[in-house]
Each structure stands twice: as structure tokens, then as C-alpha cells.
């Protein structure tokens, strides 16, 4: 047994054994089996809380030891039982016993000695638990012996980093004791208690308990800097700075719960954080910005953050050399940039340039994730895209489209999609080989990534050169295959992307035809009940139908009856109905479709579409009606439904295509009426 290596250890080992006879009730008499030992130890963890202390003591000491130390066989046997457990186990247990049974002086010595062990090791934590060590440590917090409280807290602060220990501590009611210590007059106790709570509060249950025990307002008040404080003096005061840091750390952990966020806000958190940010003390900044980042998920916070002038500091700190700080700043910006104002403020405070510079640091994944996320959201603003164009952002983004973790690539694809608002950016993307990478990513399985990639490709395909390349690398076929995805968002983003691919491709018709089962798939998707899918598919249909042959195929697959059903079904939804009308208009051109549409009763609802306030809707409706009006039966229905009065207004519209369509439609209706009159009068 290499564990009992030194003679000295063996000697003290025997002493412990004699003195305490640490054969607990749970341990089997003679066994070497490791597996058994492990299960025994786990049992002892759960049992130890239910067995009363006195009972345990009795059991431990009830067996009289063998006084005959000369009996080597016996000691060797006993040595075997305990040889499985390393010496740390026994030493720690002994220290806990002194801790429990001694006066403050002995307790202090035991506590200080405990810290010499690496308490993050499993065996050490098991040793502590087996003799109710955690309970002892928590009980010490409730005494009035300051030194013992400090020593106990130092241990608790370290071991509470382990989740199982945090759970046990929560069970033991440690949180209440710790919250009480937050109000202590001894700063050391406040700091240590705050940091310990910060560790324990990684558990949801603990966060709730802290709130219920009134801890949140205490934490927030610890951040308070009285109005007349001399800031320079404060910065030099190590104790005060440490207290602010620990309080911020606690709030950072606690802010993960929604209700806690609200409680913090109502306790005045944002004002305190704003003030602390202006101090620009790095150790305090990291947890403060981390807290802001976490809280800015909540829209109420975002508004306050914008107003509080914090954005300019966030932009400034992006230049810091502290990567952790930069990472949190970027994440905060990512959340805050949901709001338009933030996006503008970032640009005004020169926050865009650092973001672009930071994407070169690919080793720090967390930071890269935050930075790319921030870029994605700020790029929603067109002005920012112009700045990014000048900084050649897209060239630097393209290499990140492969061999990066998925979270990063999601953000990068999103950024590219937004930047593609500007034609020069699309050019940069194309020249850097971005399109091939994007097409490659279409073979993946992560829905969010697929959505962003499809979005990016769609935006790039608005440039004919890019559309050609995308097709060349089989992009259209891959996008089409995404239509089979079970995820409606993936389906719709693929469909939206397909539209410009068809629109900007000279050989679009041929390309679509070459896709086996492609058109059938499109028509089947018209039966979806997801409005985004419907809108995108109708738009795709409208694009596909520009090619006559393909329109014929679509008709064969029954596109007419399905579209007819949709017209009525979605009469209330402005978003979808514009695209439905558009599709109908395009599908009229082939064969008997206009007659078929009329027979299926699309005309009457389409006339009602003309009344919509949405420009796209009434224009599409007018176009559709124009095409339908080439069939006399349809004109009758239009006339009956007073289509003319709506169409008349459109004749004066700025859009000349609409003018023509409206005028043409009215003309057709009139001709029919005239013909009717002539025939009537001729009788």
C-alpha cells in the first residue's frame, strides 16, 4: 500500500485508529473492493445527515480498540481496510472533529490547517461531508467569533465552487447566514460572504432563496457610493474596491434569474452600475459589465442602459487589453443592439472599429462569440454597414465561416446577411470566397445556422455575379433540399433565399427543372399552415412561374386549386395575402388558369384585397385582377363587386406598372360591359 508510505504517517495513523476507531457503522468489516468502498461512501454521504450526531459518535466510539499493538496481523488487517482511503481523508476528518469540539482557539487552528488541503479534490469533499463538516462550517457563521467566521468563510468560498457542495450548503440554510453577514460591520466578512453567495447562486434554487431572504436589496445597497465620496481616495482604498467587486460578482450570478433582474432594477441597480462604470477600475468593471450583459436581455434594462450613457463606455472598453472585459462588453452590445438607438450610439462613439479589429483574435472563443454577435446586431443599421464596408469587414469575416464553433459561425453568417445590404459588401464577400463557404454550410444540421446561412445567401444572390456562383456550387439545389426540413423557419428562409437566386439567374428555368421533384415539393408546401412558410413559398412560386415550362409543371401539380383556397383562408393576414395575390397573378398566364381561378372564386376576395392599406397587397391584387380580367367571366364578377371604384384610384398612382395594370383591368371590364350592352340592345 503505497498510500501509507512514511513510517511517521503510519504511526499517527495507528494513533487515530486507536483513538477514534473510525470504523463507522456503514463500512463493511473486511473488504478491499474499490467499488464497494465507493458505494459505501456515497451511502455515508446521504446517511450522515439523517443520523443524529450523538448516535454517530456512539457508533464511532462504541467499538473498543485492540490495545495489543504488538499484534501485527491485526493491525495489518485494519490497515488494509483503511488503506483504500488516502491519508487526506482521515486528516481532514480529524480536523473537523477538532473544529467541532474545540474552543475558538483550537477551531481557528483546525480551520487554518484545513486550508492546506486542496479542497477541490473529490476525496477531500467526501471526507468533509462524512462527518457533517459542512454543517459545522455553516454553524460557525452564526457565532460571534469574527476570526472563526472569517476562516470558515475562506473555506466555504473555495469549496462552494463545486456544485454538489453548493447544493448541500443551500440545504443546510447557509444562504440565510451568509445574507446576514452582508450587513456585518467587518468588511472582510462582507466580501467573503458576497463571494460565497456568488458561487452558490449558480444554482437556480439558491438564487430564488437569496431573493426570498431579502438578499438582493442588500447586494444592491453594497454598490452604493455616497454622493460626497472622494473618488480618488476611494480608488486607492483596497478594502472598499474589493467590497464593490465582490458585491458586483454576487449580482452577476444572481442576475441569471428573471425575477431577480426585476428586483434588482427596482432596487436601483442601473444607477449604481452607471456610477461604477465611470470609476473605470478594472477589477470592478469585469463583474459590473458581466452583470449588465446578463441583464440587458431584458428590454426594460436596455432602455435604461441607453439613457444612462453607458453605451459610450462599452464602446470605450472594447479597446481594453483585458479579454474577459472585452468579451462581456461585446455580449452586452449584442443584447443592447436589439434597439435602434444603441446601434446608432455605437457608431457615434467609435465602437465599430474595435469590433472589426477584434475578430482577428480567434483563440478566445467566448470573446469571438460576443464580438461576432455584436457585429451581427449592429449591422442591422444601414449606416453601420457603410462603415463596415470601408473597414473591409466582410473580407475578415469570410475566414470565420469554417472551422469555427457553431455559435461563432451563426453570428458570422448573420453579420454577412446584414452587411449584404450594401452591394460593395457583397462584392467583398464574393471575392474573398465567402459564397463557397456559405454553400458548404448548407449541408449542416444546426437550424439556427442554416437559417442565417440561407438568409446570407439570399441577400448575396441579389447580385447577378453572386447568383451565378451560388448556382455553380450547387447552392440552389442545397437550398431547395432545405425545403424538406421539419423546421418551418428553415423552410421559409430557404424559400426566401431561392427567390433572388431564380430572379437573378439567366438559366433559372433550366436550373429549376433539373431539380428532381422540386416543383412538386413547392406545391406541397403551399399546404403548410405556417404563415412565414406560405409567404415565402408564394413568392417562390411567383418567381418560378416566370418560366412558362415550369409554370406548366406547377399547374400539373395542382397549384391553381391550392392557391385558390389560400386566397380566402388568409384574407385577414396582410403579410401573406400580398404574396398569394402575386403568385396568382403570375400563374394566370398559362393555359386555362385564369378561367380555372375564376371558377374557383378567387376574383371576389381579390377585389376586397384592393381595399387594403398595405401597398404590396393592393398592387399585387391589381396585377392579379388585370391578368384575370382577360377572361370575360371574371370581368363580370369584378363588375358585380365594384372593382372599378378601387382601380380608378390606382390609375393615378406613381408606380407606372400599377397604372397600366389598373387601367388595363378597367378597360377590360368596360369592354365586356359594352359588349353586353350592345348585345342587349341588339336583341
Amino acid at each position: 500500500c503505497g498510500i501509507i508510505a512514511e513510517y511517521g504517517e503510519f504511526q499517527s495513523f495507528q494513533l487515530y485508529f486507536k483513538r477514534f476507531n473510525l470504523r463507522t457503522k456503514d463500512m463493511p468489516a473486511r473488504t478491499d473492493s474499490t467499488a464497494q468502498r465507493r458505494s459505501v461512501m456515497t451511502r455515508s454521504i446521504t446517511n450522515s445527515r439523517s443520523i443524529s450526531k450523538k448516535q454517530k459518535a456512539e457508533e464511532s466510539y462504541s467499538e473498543t480498540s485492540n490495545d495489543d499493538m504488538d499484534d501485527d496481523d491485526d493491525t495489518r488487517d485494519r490497515r488494509k481496510i483503511h488503506a483504500d482511503l488516502p491519508s487526506e481523508y482521515w486528516q481532514i476528518q480529524k480536523l473537523i472533529k477538532y473544529l467541532k469540539g474545540g474552543n475558538p482557539t483550537a477551531t481557528l487552528i483546525a480551520l487554518c490547517s484545513l486550508r492546506d488541503f486542496d479542497l477541490s479534490q473529490d476525496i477531500c469533499q467526501i471526507a468533509i461531508r462524512d462527518v457533517d463538516g459542512l454543517e459545522a462550517l455553516v454553524n460557525l457563521l452564526d457565532t460571534t467569533e469574527i476570526k472563526c467566521q472569517v476562516a470558515s468563510l475562506k473555506i466555504l468560498k473555495d469549496i462552494s465552487q463545486s456544485k454538489p457542495i453548493s447544493r448541500s450548503l443551500t440545504d443546510l440554510g447557509a444562504i440565510q447566514s451568509l445574507i446576514r453577514l452582508l450587513s456585518s460591520s467587518v468588511a472582510d466578512l462582507q466580501c467573503l460572504a458576497a463571494e460565497t453567495i456568488a458561487n452558490i447562486a449558480k444554482l437556480t434554487r439558491a438564487r430564488r432563496l437569496v431573493r426570498k431572504d431579502g438578499g438582493i436589496s442588500k447586494f444592491v445597497s453594497l454598490l452604493n457610493i455616497p454622493p460626497n465620496t472622494n473618488i480618488d481616495v476611494l480608488k486607492e482604498d483596497g478594502q472598499a474596491v474589493e467590497l464593490l467587486r465582490c458585491a458586483a460578482l454576487g449580482l452577476c450570478s444572481l442576475s441569471k434569474s428573471k425575477k431577480n433582474k426585476r428586483k434588482m432594477k427596482s432596487s436601483g441597480l442601473i444607477q449604481h452600475l452607471s456610477k461604477l462604470i465611470t470609476l473605470e477600475v478594472e477589477t470592478i468593471l469585469v463583474p459590473v459589465v458581466a452583470t449588465l450583459s446578463e441583464c440587458s436581455v431584458d428590454p426594460e434594462y436596455r432602455a435604461a442602459i441607453c439613457e444612462g450613457g453607458i453605451i459610450q463606455y462599452l464602446s470605450k472598453f472594447l479597446e481594453s487589453s483585458n479579454q474577459e472585459l472585452v468579451s462581456h462588453c461585446a455580449k452586452a452590445i449584442f443584447h443592447c443592439a436589439e434597439d435602434d438607438l444603441t446601434r446608432t450610439l455605437i457608431r457615434q462613439h467609435a465602437g465599430l472599429e474595435p469590433l472589426v479589429r477584434l475578430i482577428k483574435f480567434t483563440e478566445n472563443v467566448s470573446m469571438l462569440d460576443g464580438v461576432t454577435g455584436a457585429i451581427w446586431k449592429v449591422a442591422i443599421d444601414r449606416e453601420n454597414c457603410l462603415v463596415f464596408r470601408d473597414l473591409k469587414l466582410c473580407e475578415s469575416l469570410v475566414p470565420l465561416l469554417h472551422s469555427q464553433p457553431e455559435e461563432v459561425m451563426i453570428n458570422v453568417a448573420g453579420s454577412i446577411a446584414e452587411c449584404a445590404k450594401i452591394p460593395e459588401n457583397i462584392e467583398q464577400i464574393r471575392k474573398a470566397g465567402g459564397l463557397t463557404h456559405l454553400v458548404n454550410l448548407l449541408s449542416g444540421t444546426n437550424p439556427t445556422l442554416l437559417i442565417n446561412v440561407a438568409h446570407a445567401l439570399g441577400k448575396c444572390a441579389t447580385e447577378p455575379d453572386s447568383a451565378t456562383i451560388i448556382d455553380k456550387y450547387d447552392g440552389v439545389r442545397l437550398l431547395w433540399s432545405l425545403l424538406k426540413s421539419p423546421n418551418p423557419q428553415v423552410q421559409s428562409s430557404a424559400a426566401w433565399a431561392i427567390c433572388p437566386c431564380i430572379d437573378n439567374n439567366k438559366d433559372a428555368g433550366e436550373m429549376v427543372r433539373s431539380l428532381v421533384g422540386g416543383l412538386e415539393l413547392i406545391v406541397s408546401l403551399l399546404k403548410s399552415d405556417n404563415r412565414e412558410v406560405l409567404a415565402s413559398i408564394c413568392s417562390a412560386v411567383a418567381n418560378i412561374a416566370k418560366d412558362e415550362q415550369n409554370l406548366a409543371v406547377l399547374t400539373d401539380h395542382g397549384v391553381v386549386p391550392i392557391l385558390s383556397k389560400l386566397v380566402v383562408a388568409h384574407a385577414a393576414d396582410d403579410y401573406v395575402k400580398g404574396h398569394i395575390a402575386d403568385a396568382i397573378g403570375r400563374c394566370c398566364i398559362w393555359g386555362n388558369n385564369r378561367k380555372e381561378f375564376g371558377a374557383r372564386g378567387v376574383v371576389k376576395p381579390l377585389v376586397r384585397y384592393l381595399k387594403s392599406k398595405d401597398t404590396f397587397v393592393y398592387k399585387a391584387a391589381a396585377m392579379a385582377l388585370f391578368h384575370l380580367s382577360l377572361e370575360p367571366e371574371n370581368c363580370v364578377v369584378m363588375h358585380e363587386n365594384h372593382a372599378k371604384q378601387w382601380l380608378v384610384n390606382m390609375v393615378g398612382d406613381d408606380d407606372w406598372v400599377l397604372q397600366e395594370a389598373a387601367a388595363g383591368c378597367i378597360a377590360n371590364i368596360r369592354h365586356l360591359a359594352l359588349a353586353n350592352d350592345i348585345s342587349k340592345s341588339g336583341r
Partner: protein, 217 residues
Amino acid sequence: MAGIMGRKLQAKLADAMSKRSHFSREEVDRLLTMYSALTVGGTRLDRNKFRDVLHNTFDMTDDILMDRVFRAFDKDMDSFLSQEEWVLGLSVFLKGTLEERVAYCFDVYDMNSDGYISREEMFQMLKNSMVKVLQDLQTTEEDPDEGIKDIVELVLKKMDHDHDNRLSMDDFMKSVKEEDLLLEAFGPCLPDTKYREKFLSDLEAGNVDIDVSQAKS
């Protein structure tokens, strides 16, 4: 007459001593007034009265240690505390720098004043610190001293840097600088924060009434 002369002398003394201590002139003055109140009837502060002060004002209870504190104050070893020893002792006791307090505690703990804290001295001081475990041990008829010896070993392991089985001033200073909680490792010989702060704020405010009546125990 004696009163005015006494006050003038006191003021001069206060002046001199405040330069050598952490107290201001006014504070030293008040301490000297306190001394006079305590030594009514005699001219110097003896062991018993001092221990009463430690007990009543600072809530100290350990006899052995209180005795050692007296000895640490009593630099000239004449079993009485002069005014100087009183003021300078309190200066370290209440407001000492870390180094001063380390030296002071070392003096307290070094029972035979040989410059080292030996195992036996540690044993003596820690003898009564394991109350509950002793009771438990009673049931197994073990030698209760084993537990104390074990704790002594723990302390040596932690603090004996030069591995000579005893603590020199160097060992002690180094250990305390690493872990300041070990300053009073062998028992409380400095005042508790609560009592210390109360005394100092009273001193600053000018309330110098030590409860002398209780001194007559």
C-alpha cells in the same frame, strides 16, 4: 497644589509619550488619568488591578493568558506597571502595527522568555482548548493529552518554517504574514474588535471612566 502640579507633570509626560506611541497627546493624557483612577491608594498598577481591567473592559477570561499579557506589558519585570508601561503597552494592544502586534503576541506566548515558543509552552496554552472532544474521549479511556499534542503538531507543521521543532520570532512573523488569522494562534491576547473599538471611541470622546468599583473583586 498637588493636583495642579500633578496635572502639569502629567501633561509633560503625555507629550513625551505620545511621540513614542500611536496615541495623540489628548488620548495619552486621558490614559494617564485612567491610570491615576486605577492606582488610587498606591502609586503603581499591580497585576490584580490590571487583570481586572482586562476582564471588565475587554472581556478576557483566560487566566494564564491574562497573566502573560501583564508580563508582556511589564517590560522591566518588576511586577508593577508604570505609567509608561501602561501607555506604551496599550498603544500596541489597541493600535499596534502588524509587526508590533506580532512581537507582542510572541512575547505573550513565549512563557519562559527564551526567544522560542516550545512544544511544552504550546501544550500549556492549548491544554484547555479541547473541551468537547475530551469528554468524548473520556468514554474510550484514552489519554486526553493525545488530542492536544496532535493540535500542537498541527501548529508546528503550519508555522515552524525552519523545522527546528519550536517557533522563533522569525517563524511566527512569517506565518502571520502569510495568514493573519494565526496572530493569536495560542489564545486571545488582543482585544476583541467590539471592545477595542468601544474603548478607542470612548477614549477619543473623552469618557475615561473605567469601572473602578468592579475592580474591587
